[in-house]
């Protein structure tokens, strides 16, 4: 049977975009709105903030760490069965969590089980998406990722409402049912018929060359530092606000406000990244610095208006840095090594995502409030942005040869290797 040699750039591809939209909503939206559950867990288990923060950080780390596994499995079996299995695992994890009697149960069920479920859903979906789109891949990916912003906006108050009616056990049960929709999304992923993808280089050779690549290693360190501080507000903001005597529902709404401005930030940053000449690294550094500053200012703000303004600022700047974090990589390592580079980057930066929230929780336990946590988070971000200064071509006036991400992506497509992890920079 003769097969298409080019992706259709449309048709069923838009259905895949829709499926990816819902998947990003269900995976990252849930992860981000977990800050609402955080307060309940601290009260229910009588445990310290640091220990409870491990739940979310294990989930994030497993999701990031396991995404290469997800994309490898999907190349072998096709995206559909992998994503459906991932959906079942994620829902099962939440289901078991609703019966938890200790924190360890939650680490294993939400952290490990749901985390691996999430790892199996997101990567194959993006790979599938890239099989369907070439010219319009960035647009398709951006549309798919808006799901994250919209769901964080909707889920935070929704989870708070669920908590006030069903307490945390019933709410986890219902979130599990919600996560089961990942299976339905997976069913939509019809495998496209493309020619066989030839392997490029040897993965082992690429890996070793990357590990000797100075700028790549520095970039990895920078992103790991950024990742350490990045997730902290989504996890601890609600608790911090309740320490300031806010009621739970307005606190959850503040999280939604941050999520909306995150969405706007992504879109603006994507447009700006294309429109502004010069290396993207500079913009990334700008956004990272601003995010760090806004994080560090959180403890200083007491008045509601100041907190809302800071939430908007944080949301915007952190959303802005997310798409750029991916765009910098092709400039650094070149298109041939990009997939290997991405996998390695994800694995290493997941360490930051794993350690950040518990560190913040530990600081909270030791000092009694979240001031130190937020300031340290901001410090991590600022140090990450400082390292970005050391990247090559930072101070040059011209972009490097292939600076436009879309061009890189098209180039990559010519090699016909699926793009598995775009957007997994979304933390």
């Amino acid at each position: 049977m003769a097969r298409r040699t080019e992706p259709p750039d449309g048709g069923w591809g838009w259905v895949v975009v829709l499926s990816a939209f819902f998947q990003s909503a269900l995976v990252f939206g849930v992860l981000r709105s977990f800050g609402v559950f955080f307060v309940e867990f601290v009260a229910a288990f009588g445990e310290k903030a640091a220990r409870v923060s491990w739940i979310a950080s294990i989930g994030i780390a497993v999701q990031q760490f396991g995404s290469p596994v997800g994309s490898a499995l999907s190349t072998k079996f096709g995206p559909r069965p992998v994503v459906m299995t991932g959906g079942i695992l994620a829902a099962l994890g939440m289901l078991l969590a609703s019966f938890a009697t200790s924190l360890t149960h939650l680490y294993l069920s939400i952290g490990l089980l749901s985390g691996s479920g999430w790892a199996l859903t997101f990567a194959p979906t993006l790979a599938c998406l890239s099989c369907y789109f070439s010219r319009r891949r960035s647009l398709a990916t951006a549309l798919a990722l808006t799901g994250v912003g919209l769901s964080s906006f909707a889920f935070a108050p929704l989870f708070q409402w669920l908590l006030s009616h069903y307490a945390w056990r019933g709410s986890l049960l219902l979130v599990s049912a919600l996560s089961l929709h990942l299976v339905a999304c997976g069913a939509l992923l019809r495998p496209p018929s493309l020619a066989e993808d030839p392997a490029v280089g040897g993965p082992r050779a690429q890996l070793t060359s990357l590990l000797h690549h100075g700028p790549f290693l520095r970039y990895t360190v920078a992103l790991t530092l950024i990742n350490t501080g990045y997730f902290i507000p989504y996890l601890h903001l609600v608790a911090h606000l309740q320490d300031l005597n806010w009621d739970p529902l307005p606190a959850a709404f503040l999280l939604s406000v941050a999520a909306i401005s995150d969405l706007v930030g992504r879109v603006v940053s994507g447009w700006l990244g294309d429109a502004v000449p010069g290396p993207v690294t500079r913009l990334l550094m700008l956004w990272t610095t601003l995010t760090g500053v806004s994080l560090a200012l959180f403890p200083v703000a007491r008045a509601p208006t100041a907190l809302v303004a800071l939430a908007v600022a944080y949301g915007f700047t952190s959303g802005a840095l997310a798409p750029l974090a991916f765009s910098v990589l092709p400039e650094l390592v070149g298109t041939k090594r990009i997939y290997c580079g991405l996998g390695l980057l994800q694995m290493i930066e997941s360490i930051g995502g794993l350690l950040g929230p518990p560190l913040s929780g530990y600081l909270r336990d030791v000092t009694g409030n979240y001031t130190a946590s937020f300031v340290v988070a901001g410090a991590f971000l600022l140090s990450g942005s400082g390292i970005l200064l050391t990247l090559p071509h930072f101070f040059s006036c011209f972009s490097t040869t292939t600076s436009r991400p879309q061009d890189l992506v098209t180039e990559a497509l010519d090699i016909k290797v699926p793009l598995p992890k775009e957007g997994l920079e979304e933390d």
């Binding site: 049977m1 006030s164 307490a167 019933g170 599990s176 299976v183 339905a184 069913a187 019809r190």
Partner: protein
């Protein structure tokens, strides 16, 4: 606050005020150590000695009123330990200070003695001193200044209040939950928990492993209830006992059975299964349709070729089928 400036200060007392002053002199002694050698009336001696002999802290509060205040002025004071209390009211008026009648009341009964009045310029001062030892002395103390209108200042003494949680605590059958009561900056002598049986408050006894009462700090108490049953739901009251009274707060506990969230859960799971089935069936159906239409097209193509052949050169070479799939 240092006591009143020159008690019987520089004004010609009117007959009314003179009478008042005589009453005062007869019953009380100014505490300013100005050293007037007035005899200490018997009734005031115990008070003064009491106030000097105890080591209670001193609470001083004052209220300012003018002739134009149209709303009574209130001050809320939180007290948990026995204290010596000084209450002072200032009244500023442009009229004649002598025409002002000054009284003190506790709740609604008039206080006869132990208060002092003095004046400077256009302000009248009155001070009432007493000791609060137990809950009988707590309440509202008011000073009244009567000219044509009566101006009133009230000091409300209350024991510390407990923090209120407005939303009920939700838990499930078989689970355990912790009810907390706390107050800010207070040290109750004792905490007690009550559960309500109908409208009767029943103290919570420490039965077997079901109820455990403890608290990490003196200003909070925690009641842990394990192995919850549906009947355990309802209102719980926590009482804080102070030397000067009691304070209480109520917490609502709701115990749900697992069926409550299970029903929406099963509904959503059913919906997902339906969705997945629909999607997969739709796909199978469209695939079948395409297959049929493909076969139809191939048939047409073969017919076309055959007719071409018959029109053109006769040909024995078999034509390869072209299978085009439209995935």
């Amino acid at each position: 606050m240092r006591a009143l400036p020159g008690l019987l200060a520089a004004r010609a007392p009117t007959p009314r005020l003179l009478l008042l002053l005589q009453c005062l002199l007869a019953t009380a002694r100014p505490s300013s150590a100005d050293g007037s050698a007035l005899d200490l009336p018997f009734t005031s001696l115990p008070l003064r000695e009491e106030m000097m002999a105890n080591n209670f802290s001193l609470e001083s509060h004052n209220i300012s009123l003018t002739e134009h205040s149209n709303m009574p002025v209130e001050k809320n004071i939180t007290l948990e330990r026995p204290s010596n209390v000084n209450l002072t009211c200032h009244f500023t008026t442009s009229g004649d200070l002598n025409a002002v009648n000054v009284t003190w009341k506790k709740d609604s009964e008039q206080l006869e003695n132990n208060y002092l009045v003095s004046a400077t310029g256009s302000t009248l001062y009155t001070q009432y001193r007493f000791t609060i030892i137990n809950s009988k002395q707590m309440g509202s103390y008011s000073c009244f200044f009567r000219e044509e209108k009566e101006q009133r200042g009230t000091f409300n003494f209350k024991v510390p209040e407990l923090h209120r949680k407005n939303k009920p605590l939700i838990s499930y059958v078989g689970d355990s939950t912790v009810l907390t009561c706390k107050c800010q900056n207070c040290f109750p002598l004792n905490w007690t928990w009550y559960s309500t049986n109908g409208s009767i408050k029943v103290p919570v006894g420490v039965q077997m492993n079901k109820y455990v009462i403890n608290g990490t700090y003196a200003n909070e108490t925690k009641l842990k209830i394990t192995q919850l049953l549906e009947e355990d739901g309802g209102s719980y009251w926590c009482h804080a006992l102070f030397q000067l009274g009691e304070s209480e707060e109520h917490i609502e506990l709701v115990v749900l059975s697992y069926l409550v969230p299970l029903k929406p859960f099963l509904a959503i799971v059913a919906e997902v299964v339906l969705l997945v089935a629909t999607i997969l069936l739709c796909e199978k159906y469209t695939q079948k349709k395409k297959k049929h239409s493909d076969e139809g097209k191939e048939f047409e193509q073969i017919e076309q070729l055959k007719s071409d052949d018959s029109n053109g050169i006769e040909n024995n070479v078999p034509r390869h089928r072209k299978n085009v799939s439209y995935f």
